[in-house]
Every structure is written in C-alpha cells, then in structure tokens.
Subunit: 516 residues, 2 copies
Amino acid sequence: MNGAEALIQTLFKGGVRVCFANPGTSEMQLVAAIDKQDGMEAILGLFEGVVTGAADGYARMTDTPAATLLHLGPGLANGLANIHNARRAHTAMINIVGDHAVDHLKYDAPLTSNIVGVASPMSHWVRTSTSSSDLAVAGAEAVVASQIYPGQIATVVAPGDHAWTDGAMVAACEKIPDVPKARELDVLKAAAILGNKTRKSALFLGGRALREAALFQAGRVVAKTGARIICETINARWQRGAGRVTAERLPYFSEMAVEYLDGLEQIVFVGCKPPVAFFAYPGKESWISPKNAKLVELAKVSIDPEDALRRLADELDAPSLPANVQDETPTNFECGKLTRESAGIIISKLMPENAIVSDESGTSGGAAFRYSAGGPKHDWLMITGGAIGQGLPVAVGAAVACRDRKVIALQADGSGMYTVQALWTMARENLDILTIIMKNNSYGILNIELSRVGVTHPGPKALSLLDLSNPTLNWVSISEGLGVKAVRAETTDEFFEAVSQAMVSTGPRLIEAQLL
Amino acid sequence: MNGAEALIQTLFKGGVRVCFANPGTSEMQLVAAIDKQDGMEAILGLFEGVVTGAADGYARMTDTPAATLLHLGPGLANGLANIHNARRAHTAMINIVGDHAVDHLKYDAPLTSNIVGVASPMSHWVRTSTSSSDLAVAGAEAVVASQIYPGQIATVVAPGDHAWTDGAMVAACEKIPDVPKARELDVLKAAAILGNKTRKSALFLGGRALREAALFQAGRVVAKTGARIICETINARWQRGAGRVTAERLPYFSEMAVEYLDGLEQIVFVGCKPPVAFFAYPGKESWISPKNAKLVELAKVSIDPEDALRRLADELDAPSLPANVQDETPTNFECGKLTRESAGIIISKLMPENAIVSDESGTSGGAAFRYSAGGPKHDWLMITGGAIGQGLPVAVGAAVACRDRKVIALQADGSGMYTVQALWTMARENLDILTIIMKNNSYGILNIELSRVGVTHPGPKALSLLDLSNPTLNWVSISEGLGVKAVRAETTDEFFEAVSQAMVSTGPRLIEAQLL
C-alpha cells in the first residue's frame, strides 16, 4: 500500500471516523485513500475555516478527534482561525496538510511555503513525515498527541511523494495516556478553605468541569458549603438546563467581571486558571479576581475535574445529592417587533430536549442564553478563542457527530459572514441545523468597544468600519444560494412560527431574525 | 498625539492612501486615527482574505502599497492565503496587525497568539513596535521595506497600548532604494548568445517584464534576433492587447510545458527564474527547461526589466521599433448553449479599451485569455501563488486603484466561494466590476489532477470531494444577498446580452455563466 493508504488506515484504526476536507492537487492520493476506507466519512467544506471549525464541533461532542485534510500552507492558513478556537477549547484535532513532494521543494514553486511555520503558532504538536513508511507513524503519533487530555491540536505535514510511494504499512497507535488526577494535597487544601463557611466562597469552573457529571459533584460541594458556582465567560461545551446543576457565568466586560467577583474571599478553580479580561483597556484591570481573596487551583484544565470535585465533595463529607439544581423556568415574551429579548425567550421556549446550541451570537444572543438555563437539557458551545467565524462550522461538526439531535446555530450577522460557506455543507449533508441569524446590521461589539477604548467622537469613516448596512446583507438570499431553505422574521409572531416549523422538521434551515 | 495617530500619519506621509480593513477591539484606536486622516480611504471587507487580496490588487495597479488593518493573530491568519499570493506577485503591502496591550500578554487571554509566528511564513519583513513612539518608526520602516523593488510584504504588529498611549510623533520615511539595474556582464552575455541567429532562442519573461514598456524593448530584441518571447504561466500583471508586443504563455501542466520549450537551445530570463512545474507528479519532471539549453539570467525579478531589455536591444543594435506586435483579431462564436469557448470569445469581443481582468477562472477561463490577446489593450491579473480565493478581492483592489476603468473578474465557481464576501465590498464601494462566474459545478482542476497523480478509478466518496453540485450553488441568489445585482446566462444570446449591458453601465454586477 502507499503512504496515503497507510496513513488513513492508521487513523481509522486509531478511532478517527470523519475527515472534514478541502483538498487540492497535493492531497489527491489522500482523497483516494479515504475513498477506500470503509467507515470513514469524508465531508467537504467550501472553505478551510469550515473544515477546521467542523472538526472542532465534532470533537467537542464526541471527545474524539476528527481529521481535517488541508491543501498546503495557504489551505492550512485559511483554517487557522478556527484551529485557534479549537486550541482554546482544548479540542482534540488531527490536521493532515499536504505538501509538495520533497524533491520539488527546492524549486520554490508558487504554492511552496513554510507549512510548519504556519502550523506552529496554533498547534500543540507538528510533525512532517520523513518517508512514505513514516507517514503512518506520524499519523499514529498524531492520534495520541491529539488526545492528550483534554485535547490537543496535532498537525501532520504529508509530502506528496510520501503519500504516493508504495511499500508503506499501517502503524500502531500507542495507548492514550490516562487522564491525570488532582493531587491529594490540592483536594485537602480546597476542602480546608471551603470547609470554613464563615468566608464567602466560590467554585470557579471551566473546561470539562462544565459537563453534567462534574457539575453534579460541584453541586454536592455547594450542598455542604454554600459556595457559589461560577464559571468562565466562554466555555467549549456547557451542559445546561433544568435538572442539572447550574453555574453563574462571569460577565464578559472586565469591569463588570471584577465587580461580579468582588467580595469573594476564597475561590477554588477547577478546569481553568483564574479569569482575566478578554482585552486590555486604558486604565482598566486585566486581572479579575479580588486582590485579597485566597485562590486555590484544585485542578487545571489538564486534570480530571469530575474526579477532583467528587474527591473534594467526599473530603467535605458532602451529601450525595447536589444543591444548585436548576428549576424549570417558564417565560413569556412581549408580542410585537422582534427584539433580542423576545427572540431569546422564543428560542429557549421552543428548544427541544437534548438540543445542541452553537453560540456565536455576539451582542444579540444574551437573552437566549439566559432564558435557556431553565429550559430542557442541552449542550451550549461557545466561541472559545474569540476568532469569529466559528459558529456555523462548529454547528456543522456537532450535527455530524450527533445526527439524532437538533442543532441550533445562534449566529450574529457580522461574524456569520466569515465562514458563511458552512451553510452549503449543512445542505449537502442534510444536517439537522437551524441557523438563526441575529441581525442588527452592525459589528455590535465594536460599537461598544470603540467608546470603551476611549474613542468618544468617532467620525463617519470610523463608524463605517463597524457598520454592516449599505448594503444590508440579505441572509435569506445568501442562504438559499447556498442550498439552505430560509425565511425572514421581523415580529414575534413570525419568529415563533418559523422556529416552531423548524423544530418539527429535520434538515437545515435558516431564519433571518431582524432585530429591532 | 497617540501612537495610532502617529502611525497613520506616517503611513500617509509615506504615500499610503488606502487602508483595507477588518478591525476588532484591539484596533479601535487605529480606526479612530484613520478616521482623522484626511485623504486616506478606509474600506471594509467582511473577511480578511478580502482585505489582503484587495491590497494586492491595488498595489498591482498602482505600484504603491495599500495598508491593511487586521485583528490579532486569527485575523492575520484569515488574510494569510492572499498575502501568500501577494508575496508571489512581488506586491508591496503593509499589514498593520493589532495585538493585546503588552502588559496583557502575560495573561494569555483567549485571543492571544504568536502573531509574529503567524506573519513570518508569508512576510518579507515583520516588526513589533516596542513603544508608543516606536510604532510610527516601525510604520516608516514598513513603508520602505514594502517598496524594496519590486515589492515586499511588510507586517507591523501594533500592541494596543502603543496605539492608545500619547506622546508619539510622526516618523520620517527613508528614501526608497533605487531599482537595481542588470549587470553589464549579463547584458553582454545575453547579447552574445541571442546574436547567434542560427540557434533557437527565447526571451523568457516574468514579473514586471510583462509591462508594456518592457515588452516593447523585448519586441526590439525579437526584431533583431528572431527569438521567441515566452512568459511564465502565471503573472501578476500582464499588459496585453492589440498594438502591444505579445508573448507566448507557457502551458500550465508540466509535461506540456516541457514539450513547449523542447528544441530551444538558448533562453534569456528577464524578471523571473527558469520555470518549474506547479506541482510534482509521480514520474514527471519538475524542471521545465530543455536539459541542454544554454540558460542566461539577464535580470532576476528584483532587477529593472525594462532597463535590462533596452540595454540588451541597444547592445544588439536592434531597430527602434519592435517586432511581435499583436494584431487585432476579430473572432466569432457558435450560437447556442454557452461553452467555455463561446463565453471566452464573447468576453474578449465586448471587453472595453483599458479594462482590467482579474482572472481566477481555473479550468474554464482559457478561451477568454486566448481570444483577448487580440482585443483592446488591457491589464490581465492572475493568481500568482496558487492560493484560491484571490480573484474577487484582487478585483476589488484594482477597482479601488482605478475607479475610471472597467474591471472584469473572471471567476471559477469553486475558488469564488473562498472569498465570496468580496461582493459586498464591491456593492458598498460601488466599484465598477463585472464578475463573471464560470460555472461548471466542480473543482474542475482536481478532477483532472486526480488522474494525473495516478488515481485511475476514484470512488464516489473521492469524487464527492471534487464536486460542487448537490446542492448546486446559486450565484445569482448569493450575489444579490451580498448586494450585487446578478443575472444567469445559459445561452450565448443571454450571455452576450448580459455582458453588453454590464459594459454600458457602471457599478458592480455579476453574471452566472452556466457552462455546458
């Protein structure tokens, strides 16, 4: 078999079941090898940001890596922003990037570039194969590297001649290392401070501490200690809804976040570091935690949070049932023109049990997030690295991972444009995704940020750079052009009807929610 | 003034008149500074690949750099593929990339990344400012670095606090170095071999040797020596049309290119290196020039080609008027269903004097290229680095540079999707661009390449990765969703009518040319 076949069979044996792809000439042998590999799906994205974002969404829902197939340095570069997001989500991902045949590199042909250089800033692990037979070995190493808990970006550069040369063999993957557990000392430290109920305490959660089982253990700690449960502003995958242990979400803007934590005397971190401001601003703090609070890191992101929280709860002799369990919270909305508030309430009312929400709704989505807390159980996926253009691709990947679940892509109009090509993949794969474009014709966040960085009297040229009108995007037309049925809603009645319809059907749909 | 104002004023003093931008929070001070800078245009792209591709198109037409404004590592990454193309086009470009405030970097906030690492593979010159007052100095250096002949990619990383801190000053740009001239020895060598008319000779041109004035001198050499003029397959800007000295274009596929040059005994290179295959293929040559031919490098790409060719012509005592001047060549097409051939002929018939063509038409565009050779004078811009998604953004930049000229974007459907957001900027800026989507519902080149790399019996999974149907893209709908008036043409009558209409109107339009 050739190197490409050996690589793909190695990945399959290592558990990789999906390859999101946007190949070029230098990847044709890899395409042929995927073709021959029964049981491995090949899903085309019409832009590489779709490919890498989909791999991220897939892995967030399965906790196993997808592969991507990318074309040389520029193809990888196009996928890099969503690799950045995946890296910040601690997602397992295996990128296969074709390169020129080794003997061809010296000619510096037009598509030649430093692929390792492009990959390195956003990858945990990068390796170029050294021969046809080494390509599968590199793949086997990538399978393991990508799954170092909780997940890493592993990138394999595959020269064309290594792919097409015969005489290669499937390589065996080594065992994935066990998930590291919290140190006993840290459990005792955390228990010691939280045991003191006279002090204002919080558990501060991130990473996989936002999964249901870990939250359950955090709820036991609360039942015993009365500590608050707070979590990072942005989380890769948060299991929420009525009946699950809930957490307070730290506000986004740093001064509000500082105020939010003010008064806490001790904080135990699980699955994350102490929070910092997303951006720096003139005269504002980057550090969010109260200056005099006692901070204990029970488990960083690379430590099993459920185990750590269970041991903490047991050490505290906590009851077996958790506190902080979310109630069902029925809500009502005001009829009329659609607003962020009413749109959010309608979404959370109509969301089915077990939905997955891919949230890149920016300034327009807060209400949907808040009201869904008391709705049916669901997974909420966020834009972890701040590189916009994540929402639609992650929805694609989540829907491929969970074909029996409804996926809702809550998408701001500005950021939706970055990887709008994702709609086409939704159509081709008939993915059960409802995309809701929260349309305010603006980079809403930047209009806020402009004043926050101290620009008080912006002129028309500055404002034009933050504005999406002139012309207004017609998302219905764009979506239908990409093969996804779409409808516009401007009133609560129209929106309620459109979301209801989408919930009783399957397959991709888009609603352009024109917000007041 | 703050660092941002000092930087923008420095760039303006250095001749920068346009900033293509997609800013974020960390660039808000730079947005405000551009706002204050009279005479500097600020043009928004809804994706960074549009921004960098537009800067490339602008500089190709003006030979002066535009600035780009990009948001941190991921924003730069999104623009990287078209920076790669610009680098391969030897385009002058100044990228301003915001970064977190220096004190904020240690917190490793979600959007933190190694920006210099992302920039380096595709930049000739990268520099992070060291202080508020240094930011303008870095900008002044970038103005010069970008204009080292024939053009370089200069990237300035601008930390937020350097932008917002007061006390900065405008920096002076040093003089742009003179364009290096060919060595006298090389002129004599080239003259010596071309003077021997018994041997089969060619001038092989690339880079700025494809501009009218350099071609004129090449034509004088031909008038004296009978050498052929051949040029690179892919050229950043080729000045063509009846009345100009013409050149033969080297075929794309390597075995055809080898055959094309076969029999030549001596080749003089001006503005380029000897050609190599675009990709390597099993058992095929990467080196294109005949093995036994005498090769003389008169002027590499960084040497003034017009001067070199004039001195060569003078040394040969060539006549003052050139040979190889292109005649007008009237053409006719077969009526009926639209084909690549008839579409190409219609485009070249209707193209106005002084048009600019941005060609990313892939496998569908050859006829338009061939037939336009004998049409009115025009500039033909190609996808220099092979990173698809260049065509529409380069058209944007060319149209901004030359608001009085008609721009025609000849665009393949597959590659058009990568930076489809460019249509919106065409609409916002009311750019005089006719986009023609050459629609074959396929990554046409990959269907050819699959067999060329030796894959003889591709299965349905492989073919699905090269196929753009299921669903078919509706470019009329996509285009109108982005604000550009569009029409579909399936017959020669419809296409002739649509192109004619576009030629007598101004402003952006799109024609979806459904090819048989």
